[in-house]
Symmetry: C2
DNA sequence: GCACCTTTAGGATGATTGTCCTAGATCGTC
DNA sequence: GACGATCTAGGACAATCATCCTAAAGGTGC
């Protein structure tokens, strides 16, 4: 259990705390307390708060990349894989109701802080966007793929924000059903183009 | 220019700063500097940061109530008034691209802080929701009015979040056109029920 | 011109912040 | 079992934070 493990623990704890409390409101002491290490030890691994943020962003980016890759590897149609993305808001429902979308709330906070790493955080959102674009292209949406991708991404952000505000499970379920129906119609439409 | 004016200036400056920087990240000194008054004078008007927050929430609530009332008073169909709501994201586009939705980002931040006033902030979102519900009922949506209202509200939050992240004007325009078309279809559907 | 209330100024306070430093503990390698 | 590298602990630092205090200025009524 060398420093590698400690470093990982710090990043994991910071990831969770930045999500639940926000980046700015989370202090070195908070993270150190969560990992149960001294501030001195902490400083050995990360010398500035920005370094931790960059590590958290890198971790989140890697996690999401792995998640998307796992859906791709599992196979299935593009439509089915987009549906996996849509259903995240149900799978992570309790967390989303408490703290919103981890990606959307971080990018929003860093934009307001005009933080130097805000563009790096935006890359996580761009990762989702680009993956969705590729899936819609795969579905046959062509030039409209970008538009559809942003539509789904925007939808997910809206649902997350309102879920956090009103904590209405039925709302989330309804919205998921509606967008899945929209996706189904779209896929039907693209398929009928082939004839 | 007695204390009334100073108090109003403080609330206005705090409103703007809470929006652009976030509540937590805005200090007494920031607000005092914006109004160009001393911290002592500040303290005379507001003894705690929470008091300023409550005043800002009250102002925002009143402002939005007045805005909604102005649309109602201007007349027009329920559909036209809902369209006014939808078009806010275009009217306030530059601010939204910089700082997101003032309502959504504040509620999200206060939820994360578990701040005592978070329910009061949520009331602003509830104000929009209830107004939209009433308009959809007016349109003839009946039991589906709540669902449609949350759909539009959720849509606005998603567009605001993505607009802040990607700063893509074309995306905002497209989304507005799409939801207006959805609203048009819905209104057509409700009208055809009458026959 | 005096008394009174509202408003303003600016310094003081203790807590917390991010950051830094030094000293000791633990480890693998020989 | 000794040595150098890695890791940990905890105190010190200046800056900033929300909050509080006292004193003076400004205005109003008599």
């Amino acid at each position: 259990m060398a420093g590698k493990a400690t470093r990982q623990q710090i990043v994991d704890a910071a990831d969770q705390l930045f999500y639940s409390q926000g980046f700015d409101h989370t202090s070195f002491a908070d993270i150190a307390a969560a990992v149960e290490i001294s501030r001195g030890n902490f400083y050995y691994h990360f010398r500035t708060k920005d370094e931790i943020l960059d590590a958290v962003i890198a971790k989140r980016l890697a996690d999401r990349q792995a998640l998307l890759a796992s859906w791709d590897e599992r196979g299935g149609t593009a439509q089915q894989r987009i549906a996996c993305f849509i259903r995240i808001v149900i799978i992570n429902q309790s967390k989303i109701m408490a703290w919103g979308c981890p990606v959307g709330t971080l990018t929003s906070e860093l934009e307001k802080l005009e933080h130097a790493s805000r563009n790096r955080a935006n890359e996580i959102m761009a990762l989702f966007r680009d993956w969705l674009v590729a899936r819609f292209e795969e579905m046959g949406s062509g030039a409209a793929a970008q538009e559809h991708a942003l539509h789904v991404l925007s939808w997910s952000q809206g649902v997350a924000t309102l879920a956090q505000t009103f904590k209405d499970e039925a709302f989330v379920r309804r919205e998921v059903e509606q967008i899945l129906a929209w996706l189904e119609d779209l896929a039907d439409g693209e398929r009928s183009k082939d004839f």
